[in-house]
Amino acid sequence: MAKINNKTKIEVTDGVLIPARDDSSIFSAWRIAFYGAISVLVLLPVLSPEPYCHVFKFVVGFNEDWHFDFASSGLVKTFEVTVLSIICALIIGLLVGLGRISRYPVINRICTVYVEVIRGIPLLVQLFYIYYALAKFVKIMDISAAVIAMAICYGAYISEIFRAGIQSIPKGQMEAALALGMTRSQAIYRIILPQTIKVVLPPIGNEFIALLKDSSLVSILAVSDLLRRGREYASTAFYYFETYTMVAIIYLILTLFFSRLVAIMEERMKTDVNQG
């Protein structure tokens, strides 16, 4: 019996390692990576402005005299794609997640097939498909094509999180709600979903970080995100090593920053649950 209890749970996720407060070694690893990346990001342009400073300005979207140009910023484009995609993916994910626990076989089957199909196609292929293949029938602008493809893909993954989250709520909750005279849908919206949100927020935060990284794939659709801005710079200035170093560090800082945010959020959730 003891052996079974001692079994450690192995969790491997797509996102970066999210540090827990009490785990000091992981936290310091995060610290080393985060502050190290920031100091490299600051030091390289200061020590050798040509080309690091130019790369930084070009990629992040400053013009020569450090005026921030919103429209040409690769950083803004990356965020635009990521945030819009995660919002759409959450909506799709919630609907499909509910569909997957639906009692109606048709809805259930449709949602399950959707998840199976989408999870079986590489995101890169999906992006090409929605951008070039579907363009035969409907005209989708570049950024919306990217957002639609990312949302459809991540919607499938997030729906699985929602489904697991809903199923993790003890059955007694639903039974009690039904016993109080609520209908099934009332019980789901008033009792089950509010509790589910607390359970699913950390894994969704993880998906957000994974999506931020995968958003670099949209650069193939001529969306001028961080990676494409970097490639544009490197292909004319020929500073390949310098450019991709800067792009990688900017991505690293972003993902580390958000992983910390997710960890803090998780912490808050825990205390909220304990107090409530």
Binding site: A71, Y132, A135, K139, M141, D142, I220, A222, S224, R228, R231, E232, A234, S235, T236, A237, F238, Y240
Partner: protein, 251 residues
Amino acid sequence: MKKGIILLLMLSIASFCVFTGCSKEQSAGKKIIVATDATWPPMEYVDENKNIVGFDIDLLSAAAKEGGFAVEFQNTAWDGIFAGLAANKYDAVCSSVTITEERKKTMDFTNPYVSIGQTIVVKKELNGMEQLPQFEGKKVGAQIGTTGAIEIAKYKNITLKTYDEIGLAIEDLSKGRIDAVVCDNPIAANYALLNPKYKPVLKIVGTPFTTEEYGIAVRKGNKEVVDMINAGLAKIKAKGIDKELEKKWLR
């Protein structure tokens, strides 16, 4: 049945080995590996038999034959093509490379072998826009890192969209996602005048607005390969082979 399939597989592998073995035996003398981004018809592209063909390919192959060396072409994505050259992955880049001052800083070039200019391709129904400055406030596409993209970037108010391949830019133009594409005139002509899919919807406007010369790029300081190719190019020029090839591919 299963055995038959395995046998077939083994046979095809064996024949493939024999085939590649043969092609290797043929190459005599010094062999150079040449990178090309075969997405640039009619200069270099992959034909329906998956062979790399085009004007550049024929020209360099002819120069190699005359100059007594062998070439092997390697299909490489454009936006890393010069990085690969610097990293010693191949000896030369023969891929419609325009000789520019900026590029000369990081690589050496052979003598120019053909001159071209940047041209604007638009949709058929667009009238009255013939110069690049007229496209201010519009979206104009080009292949990443090409002289076309560099020309567009000179105008701050034009939204430059860069593509991995020129074919994707042309496709987006035909779908109305961008307003124009800037590329070398032989490529523009190939898509807008010859390609059965794009011929009815696209047209070339104005005349080429730059004068550029193609050269074969070689790693900085690699004089041996430069001299070798230059000697071959001089010989085919003397024989008039280059004019024949221009007639074959560029008319």
